[in-house]
Amino acid sequence: MEGFVYSQPGTLREAFSLLTNKKGKLVAGGTDLLGEIQDGIIAPGLLVSLERIQGLKTMREEKNGLRIGALVTLAELESDKIVAEHYPLLAAAAGEVATPQLRAQATIGGNLCQRPRCWYYRGDFNCLKKGGAVCYAEDGENQYHAILGGGPCHIVHPSDMAVALLAMGASARVVGPRGEKTVPLEKFFVLPQVDVKRETILAPGEILVEIRVPKPLPEARWVFRKMRERGAWDFALVSVAAYAVTKDKVIQEARIVLGGVAPIPWRAVRAEQALKGKTLTGPVMRLAGEATVTDARPLSQNEYKIRLARNLVRQVLATLA
């Protein structure tokens, strides 16, 4: 690879021009991007750092909720007092990501835009996602791949923060050379059947600048649980974030989101439907667990994730009951 030019623009406008005219690659904390360069997946000629752009590092609470600048680090989310008090689901998820060193460097924007961890993608395989003709995971080593929403590519989305933020009903503010838009986080992620080469709606040149999290209702409750293969840091085998609003023990609203099971953070709509208007009894929780995986289609080596997802949803609901 030829070397890269490193630029640190001071404004978004400058960044757009570098990204679109010069085909630069955006870098925030760099914890994912450097890995991609090191593994030879990408070979950018220009890196455009977000670090000097004003305003991306701030986090503040307003009347309707929390605004998190794209460059706020996961360590800040983990230790911030306001987050801990009013948005503990985010602090809980942030604390489960990677290691203290990585959390101090990794940004929330980068966490949502990080590329998949499929070992064929990270390895020397020209698979579908890289423009090749086959998905090697389909008939290969697929124990960590998707059971829901897969095809033609079967990655699981690696972000823990996305799972928690989706459960909180967050949205993303995206700015590009032609203006800005705010989209619910659910619409921010893209299934491979829509576009196999990317995981988000971001077009080249567009920058995720802010995450907005609505203020939870006072009677809302939530839980985040992440299962991994070992005690030390690891990506999720399956994770679940649940957010529920109950009145007299009856569920008015529930959002159940799973990580580690699908190419996007997966909203378990069927489980949510099974919960609405019910009280959290044993049978209801079991039904919600079953509903989570009704549509699951395992690959050759990952059937275990079905049971894991079903039981984790039950377990999470039990702690809400």
């Binding site: 760099g30 450097l34 360069i37 090191q38 593994d39 203290p100 090697y136 008939d139």
Partner: protein
């Protein structure tokens, strides 16, 4: 079915091959890794003159933009206290303090580090006087082969600066980004506990 089996074997074989190819590609220098022969001017290299503040002293050098901070520390400046384990953000052996925070030097580009205060294990003692965390590691024998020790000590310092009275859980979580291949964890935790006491007294 035949086609299927073919793909399966191809993918398994290529998988193994992938590892070797990866390494070969690296020695031709994607991001320069520590231990890789320095290519003073590889074709197409983009060089920048940067000044890094390390252990209180300014170091100015002509750096290839692809150099990681770890590579610069070890191979350009001879500061070999930060160790190279995985070179991929997974082991913590390269941990240094940047603006007071423990970070992986292998995951930081040198070109992104000017203007920041970098502290490596070489800068921790005051002359002959060890830092309390170092002293505690010596006294409690918080190591076996000691490869992980510089990173452990700097992570521990970062933790104790933030949280001077950590519980055992705090210590375990604070050091979760540092692996010890000798599994000297019980003694490491004892050392950090002792260091906290030492600093408090």
């Amino acid at each position: 079915m035949d086609e299927k089996r073919k793909r399966l074997t191809i993918s398994r074989r290529d998988f193994l091959k992938g590892g070797a190819i990866g390494t070969a590609a690296l020695s031709s220098g994607l991001l320069l890794r520590s231990g890789v022969e320095a290519q003073s001017a590889p074709p197409g290299a983009k060089i920048s003159r940067i000044t890094l503040k390390i252990n209180g002293a300014a170091h100015t050098l002509e750096a290839d933009n692809r150099w990681t901070l770890l590579y610069i520390l070890r191979d350009q400046l001879g500061l070999t206290g930060a160790k190279q384990g995985c070179d991929g953000g997974q082991c913590g052996a390269c941990t240094v303090l940047i603006d007071g925070k423990p970070l992986y030097a292998c995951m930081v580009l040198g070109i992104a580090a000017p203007g920041k205060e970098i502290l490596t294990i070489e800068g921790l003692a005051k002359g002959e006087e060890l830092h309390p965390v170092q002293q505690a590691f010596v006294e409690e024998m918080g190591y076996q082969c000691a490869f992980c020790t510089p990173g452990m000590i700097l992570s521990a310092k970062g933790l104790l600066d933030r949280n001077p009275k950590p519980s055992e859980t705090d210590i375990r979580q604070g050091l979760a980004g540092n692996l010890c291949r000798c599994a000297a964890y019980p003694k490491i935790i004892r050392a950090v506990t002792a260091a906290a006491k030492r600093i408090a007294s």
